[in-house]
Amino acid sequence: MKLNALFNRSLWVYHFNSGSCNGCEIEIVATLTPRYDPERFGIRLVGSPRHADVMLVTGPVVHRMKDRLLRVYQQIPDPKIVMCIGACGISGGVFYESYNLDGPVDEVIPVDVYVPGCPPRPEAIIHGVVKALEKLERLQGVEA
């Protein structure tokens, strides 16, 4: 990881709940609060997908959320990174056999970074964002 190139701009994230149990939401908010404080690296949660660089998707994509997930995904300007947080977004997790799932997430939208865990620890989420940063830099062709 090369600090100069990576931290030359801030990364804004938008969080989308696609039918999660709330565990990942809580950990995402816990990640943003003073104990971990990723805002010192410019990582912050924004309210509109149009302002975001990264989309955090939690939950197994329940039926009613599929269309909304697609629409929100399209609203995020390119280049964008999609992070899938939590086991149920990656594989369905404990909900794998439910009749109401249209997921996992990568069957609906392309996913760049997977953060496993049920729910993942804040450190894991930050690690995921750093991975996302590296990928975003590559996409934008920034010289390291």
Partner: protein, 409 residues
């Protein structure tokens, strides 16, 4: 809103995904200027079919599914499900396990109430207070992680007991955390209650009268803030609560009067943090020695559950109010029927009287004030089509009766 009015009502849809909402729910507000005339909401956006899945798994597996009904109140669901199954199978839970369950349960209440306090501060635009409460909340998360191995979705409760013991070295860690909170409580109370802005934003906002609270069957802090003296820990003790001295926290005991507004809900929740500290301390000093589970071998436990027939109900006072699990076993691996009533399910209807007549700007804090937990609720919410999203009391009653009849077979 009545359709007779000639003026077209001004409708503002909010949700299902909206930055002010932490979870998906769809609101439709009917506005007249700045005032909310009527409100309609459609939950069920996060329905995952958990009960359906549960009926295909055995009780030992379901306990881990119940953890994931809701990420905030995990132990509540697994505890009430276990209580129901233990009731059916006649499993006697060792006393020590009851105490450990109570301790983890109360730590969950502490972190949940602090979480809520932070969200409430955020909805009021008081972000520094959000960060402060979430920073102190991490202390409880550390202890929970130390006790259970997980920060969220603890997985400590199992049918017949708990999966981890509390060893003497952990007493010091718990004690340190309790001392921190007891020292902080006065600071938090003064931040929230003596602040002029918070008082102006919360006093007499989102009022739920005692009569409405009773009629809408609200539970937990929402009901207690309206002066309804309900608390399962006091009324129908479970786990170790029978041995402990728990009294429902009512706002008039602290402030001398009950308004039933958002301010009172803050009072109740913050005081309950202090109450939980006392309960945990009492549990630690009175905890008996002994085994932590009735049956260590899971295969044997499964065999016992498989043989069991009958029905059981587990009721637990969640941070948000009463949580109820109904289970019926018919001598098979998986339960014949499983029904969950989460606390927010009882509380959601109270939004309507609270929001009617309020200002648009007060919507977020009023919505947040009942501490809604939609992932709990959305397993059961009945949404047939998007237009008919509110069910009248009669409809709810009819559906409820139908479901009861169906469960009775």
């Amino acid at each position: 809103m009545s359709g007779e009015s000639k003026k077209a009502p001004y409708r503002v849809p909010i949700g299902p995904n909206h930055p002010a909402l932490k979870e998906p729910v769809m609101f439709t507000f009917e506005l007249e200027g700045e005032v909310v005339r009527d409100v309609d909401f459609a939950p069920g956006q996060a329905h995952r079919g958990i009960e359906w899945m549960g009926m295909r798994r055995n009780p030992v597996q379901i306990v881990h599914l119940t953890d994931r009904i809701c990420g905030i109140c995990g132990v509540v669901h697994s505890l009430s499900f276990s209580l129901a199954v233990e009731q059916i199978a006649g499993i006697e839970v060792p006393e020590r396990a009851d105490y450990i369950r109570t301790i983890v349960h109360e730590f969950e209440r502490i972190q949940s109430h602090l979480l809520w306090a932070g969200v409430a501060a955020h909805e009021l635009g008081f972000d520094s207070l959000l960060h402060l409460t979430w920073r102190v909340r991490e202390e409880a998360m550390d202890v929970i992680e130390n006790l259970t191995g997980n920060r969220v979705n603890y997985g400590i409760v199992q049918v017949g007991g708990v999966r981890r013991d509390i060893v003497p070295e952990q007493h010091a860690i718990i004690e340190k955390c309790l001392a921190t909170y007891e020292g902080l409580l006065d600071t938090l109370l003064s931040f929230f209650l003596d602040d002029r802005t918070i008082r102006m934003r919360c006093r007499d906002v989102g009022v739920l009268s005692r009569k409405d609270a009773l009629e809408l069957c609200t539970v937990g802090p929402t009901a207690r803030a309206s002066g309804v003296n309900v608390d399962l820990r006091q009324d129908y003790p479970y786990a170790a609560y029978g041995d402990l001295d728990v009294k429902a926290v009512l706002p008039d005991r602290y402030l001398g009067e009950t308004h039933g507004d958002v301010y009172d809900r803050i009072v109740v929740r913050l005081l309950e943090v202090g109450q939980s500290c006392q309960i945990i301390r009492q549990c630690l000093s009175e905890m008996p020695a002994g085994p932590i589970t009735a049956e260590e071998k899971l295969v044997k436990l499964l065999a016992t559950c498989k043989k069991a027939t009958g029905e059981g109900i587990g009721r637990v006072e969640a941070p948000r109010g009463e949580c109820l699990h109904y289970v019926r076993m018919e001598g098979k691996d998986s339960p014949a029927s499983w029904k969950v009533k989460a606390s927010s399910y009882s509380n959601l209807m109270s939004w309507i009287p609270m929001l009617r007549g309020s200002q648009i700007a007060d919507i977020p804090i009023i919505v947040a004030s009942i501490d809604p937990c939609l992932s709990c609720t959305d397993r059961v919410a009945i949404v047939r089509d998007s237009r008919r999203s509110i069910l009248s009391k009669d409809d709810l009653h009819r559906l409820s009766v139908e479901k009861t009849r169906r469960l009775q077979g």
